[in-house]
């Protein structure tokens, strides 16, 4: 049995805010195998970014608190690591590309200065590099993401670059080290469609070249279909379904997944769907039991009381819904 | 059935808004402290003649048998070198300070706001240049120094002080409003108002001014404290209200001569001054926080 690269077990996370606590993550179970590409789909503010940020524990300066659960990276519990170990992980093994490239770049430092900072203090920390070597590496990184005229970009400030260029710079920063896992949080969402496409191809090539694991969050279901092998669907702070990517688009089982996939407008023009009635739950007072039950067409009494665990349909496909309890019992036994 | 207008007003959205803002305001204990302090000070100032025990202390009163008494039951703040009750004088001094702040703001704020609006709206033209250059001249030196200079040259009384501070103060308001107007000017709602055919006056006062209001109100509250400080600094050196009028600055100045033995003569007005400024600062901060929209 291979050890999974990432194994999040029953993660609960809350934010302390003015009016109380936002119970954002409510028992997240998430697994990524080495060299696997996993997608993560969900509505806005369902907890996707928070889950991923908690993998590398960069929620430090906000008011987030992890109340329960484990995050295992290569078998080691990230939540129990000390600062030095976690920094090692961030430097050498996991990297993240953020959603908004403009926000992810420090506006008062030049691109070159930020790149060299990363090389100096992070990737190349123990290596004692000279200034020339640092500069060479920075230029190489920019060339890797197909940015023209890297020397000029090194001295520019983020405000002088276009959105697409900023996103490429962020990708360059993420790929500076030889990582095992790349987390991409909606790359290209804040850019327009043609740039989006270029970024997608770029990512695809780089990922295939390096053969690393990827966690890809996206609203663009086409991107998910192209890159990922397995996909999770997330709703209101927990995973509701996971399956092979192809399977989840053809045969979604969870009521939410069904509505979600159905809501995608199809080229064959079968009409625009109605969308999903209701709204996402209030995290201050989330509904008890399954968080989807107020909007679910097949709601049963048990849904209002107990949160369904992940039930196995087959080797890869799992659903968190009480509808499938009987089936599991029939199949399992 | 027509509901009475009062009940209608209570149920209207505006009242809800007021209630919500009050809730937000009251969550911050510092703002509540500020509000209470300011209310007490205002109350004391307005009703001073009715609540003070020794109203003669403000006039030309001399009673050497009671002079230089330390704080006791009949004289909670002690007496000064002429035998006047310090507590009464302090409360009357609040009146002077508040009067000064009120007059200065009454003159300076409308003047500064209007000039700032005009200069900002006509940005780039000669109107703008003239107004802002004059503002720059007044802003080149800290207000206290210019106020000291002006007050020292002209006859020394309260009126001069108030006028002097007013002449300086409008420039700060003008500069602030100018900044807001120039940043708001480029926004689309101004252009659409112009397209509809709104006149300049309408745009200035109905579109642009509401955007400045929150900052103006905050500034006014904080300014009361600042003006009282400058006023006290001026009267400390003898340039403000003249004796026998009670003013916090002059009381402190007189008290310093009797340090350290009759310490109460300087210390109590000093603490009172700090409390007044603190109250208005806390209130101003609370009001400022009200207008800030919290990001998620």
């Amino acid at each position: 049995m291979q050890t999974p690269l990432i194994n999040i077990k029953d993660l609960h996370l809350e934010f302390k805010v003015f009016g109380g606590t936002l119970k954002v993550l409510d028992g997240v179970n998430f697994t990524v195998w080495p060299k696997e590409k996993v997608g993560l789909i969900g509505e806005a503010s369902c907890g996707k970014t928070t889950t991923l940020k908690s993998i590398i524990k960069i929620l430090g300066m906000t008011s987030a608190r992890i109340t329960k659960g484990k995050i295992l990276f290569k078998g080691r519990d990230i939540l129990k690591m000390n600062k030095a170990e976690i920094q090692d992980v961030r430097r050498k093994e996991i990297s993240m590309i953020f959603q908004d490239p403009t926000a992810a770049l420090n506006p008062v430092f030049s691109i070159g200065s930020q790149l060299k900072n990363i090389i100096k203090y992070s990737v190349g920390l123990k290596e004692n590099l000279t200034r020339k070597e640092i500069e060479t590496r920075a230029i190489e990184a920019l060339k890797r993401v197909m940015l023209p005229d890297p020397e000029r970009i090194l001295v520019s400030y983020p405000i002088q670059l276009s959105g697409g260029m900023r996103q490429r710079v962020c990708i360059a920063m993420a790929l500076l080290s030889n990582l095992d896992l790349l987390i991409a949080d909606e790359p290209g969402t804040s850019l327009d469609v043609t740039i989006n496409d270029q970024i997608l191809h770029l990512l695809d090539n780089l990922v295939k070249k390096k053969n690393i694991s990827v966690i890809l969050i996206s609203h663009a279901l086409g991107m998910i279909k192209n890159i990922t092998e397995r996909t999770y669907i997330m709703y209101a702070g927990s995973m509701v379904e996971v399956a092979k990517t192809a399977e989840i688009f053809i045969n979604p089982l969870h009521p939410y997944s069904q509505d979600l996939i159905a809501a995608v407008p199809k080229l064959t023009g079968e009409g625009i769907s109605q969308g999903i009635p209701g709204h996402i739950p209030d995290y201050l007072n989330p509904p008890p039991g399954c968080r989807y039950h107020p909007r679910c067409r097949y709601v049963m009494p048990i849904c209002k009381v107990k949160n369904p665990p992940f039930l196995k349909i087959n080797e890869i496909h799992q659903v968190a819904c009480w509808l499938f309890k009987k089936e599991v019992n029939q199949v399992g036994k | 059935m027509k509901k009475s207008i009062f009940i209608q007003a209570l149920n209207s959205k505006k009242w809800e808004k007021v209630q919500r803002n009050w809730y937000r305001f009251s969550r911050n204990y510092l703002s509540i402290i500020g509000l209470i302090t300011v209310t007490i000070i205002l109350f004391l100032a307005i009703f001073a003649p009715f609540i003070t025990a020794h109203p003669e202390a403000v006039g030309r009163y001399v009673n050497f048998s009671e002079a230089k008494k330390p704080p006791c039951l009949s004289y909670p703040f002690g007496t000064d070198m002429f035998g006047r009750d310090n507590l009464t004088r302090t409360i009357y001094a609040f009146r002077i300070s508040l009067l000064m702040a009120f007059v200065v703001l009454l003159i300076a704020v409308p003047l500064g706001v209007i000039l700032g609006l005009i200069a900002g709206y006509f940005q780039g033209t000669w109107i703008d240049t003239i107004i802002m250059r004059i503002t720059d001249i007044f802003l080149s030196i800290p207000p206290l120094i210019l106020a000291l200079a002006i007050c020292s040259i002209f006859p020394r009384n309260l009126l001069t002080t108030m006028l002097a501070i007013s002449i300086l103060w409008w420039t700060w308001c003008c500069r602030m409003v100018y900044g807001i107007v120039t940043s708001v000017k480029g926004e689309f709602f101004i252009q659409s108002a112009e397209l509809i055919g709104a006149g300049r006056l309408h745009i200035l006062f109905m579109e642009i001014l509401p955007n400045c209001l929150s900052e103006i109100i905050t500034k006014i509250t904080l300014d009361v404290g600042a003006i009282i400080l400058i006023g006290s600094s001026l009267s400390f050196v003898g340039l403000g209200a003249q004796p026998p009028t009670a003013d916090l600055g002059s009381m402190i100045a007189n008290g310093t001569k009797y340090l350290p033995d009759q310490w109460w003569m300087a210390v109590f007005p000093g603490i009172a001054l700090a409390i007044v400024v603190l109250g208005f600062n806390l209130l101003g901060d609370g009001i400022h926080d009200l207008f800030v929209v919290e990001e998620r």
Partner: protein
Amino acid sequence: MIKRKSVMTSFLSMVKLKMKDRRIIFIVKRLFHSVFVLWGLSVLIFVMSRIAPGDPARMVLGTRAPEEVVERLRIAMHYNEPIYTQYFYWFKSVLRGNFGVSLVTQHPVLEDISQVFPATFELAIYAFIFMTIIGITLGILSARYNNTWIDHLGRLLSYFGIVTPSFVFAIMGMLIFCYLLNVLPAMGRLSPGIIYPPKITGLITIDALIQGNFKVFIDALKHLILPTVSLGLLGMAEEARITRASVYNNMKKEYIAAAESYGIPEKVIMFRDLLKPSLIAVISVLGLEFGALIANSFLVELIFNWPGFARYGMNAMLQKDLNAISGIVLVLGVVFVFCNIIVDLIVDFLDPRIHLVKERNE
């Protein structure tokens, strides 16, 4: 004006310094602006001094002087001529450095000013360093440990510093430390009986150190403590507040999380990525803070009997010494204009967005 600018720009374009020549144009523009402001200030001061009640000629000569002598002085001072002519003569002499003679000291005003300037300069430098370093440090600590007791204590202290007027603090300080506890001296720069060190810089502490004279150095420091803290308290409190707010806001920004995700050590993030954007807010107000510091020194120097520029100015104002007042105001004007230009340059250096955004809009 235009000729000078285009000559400069063409020279600079030959040298091909893109970024720097914008900065130089910026400095030149600011210099012109400052010259105008100073000129305007001189007009203001002049008009004020001429509107002031009282007969200047008689004030110089005294009440006992006979009328013809006063009349002759009036003619010599151009008092009977139209006001713009008077201004012209006055301005000409001001440009030569001649502010007239002080009524109080009977010496040329500029000479007086240059004598008293070092004392205030020393006090101002110490107060400025105190206020900036401690203020910013407190602000950073408050933000880093926000909502803990450190933060609450810091915020309380800064409120206290903002609302207590400097002269009240000076008096309280004198009361407690000089009279009650008797650990610090009350007046002046040096204790009576101690000789001033030979004047190299004019700053007693530096001069004493250069001489190796530690006794004088310590004594001067003791005399400096109370005035420095009285002057610097307001600025320190303001800066602590602004720094705290700025750091606290920037701490939550995405680029800090991004820097963390790349594995950069926390200390590097704090002192590099977080500090630079946060300092911008503080440094922008440094000019105003310094102005308030000098303004407050007018009162504090009076209280501590500090033989400085501000005490001289204060005395001049109280005694209606018009020449000295004009001199003081104009000299201060020059000082502040200079400070504001430096502050603007530093802010521009720290935050390149300012002139880059202009570049895009032009």
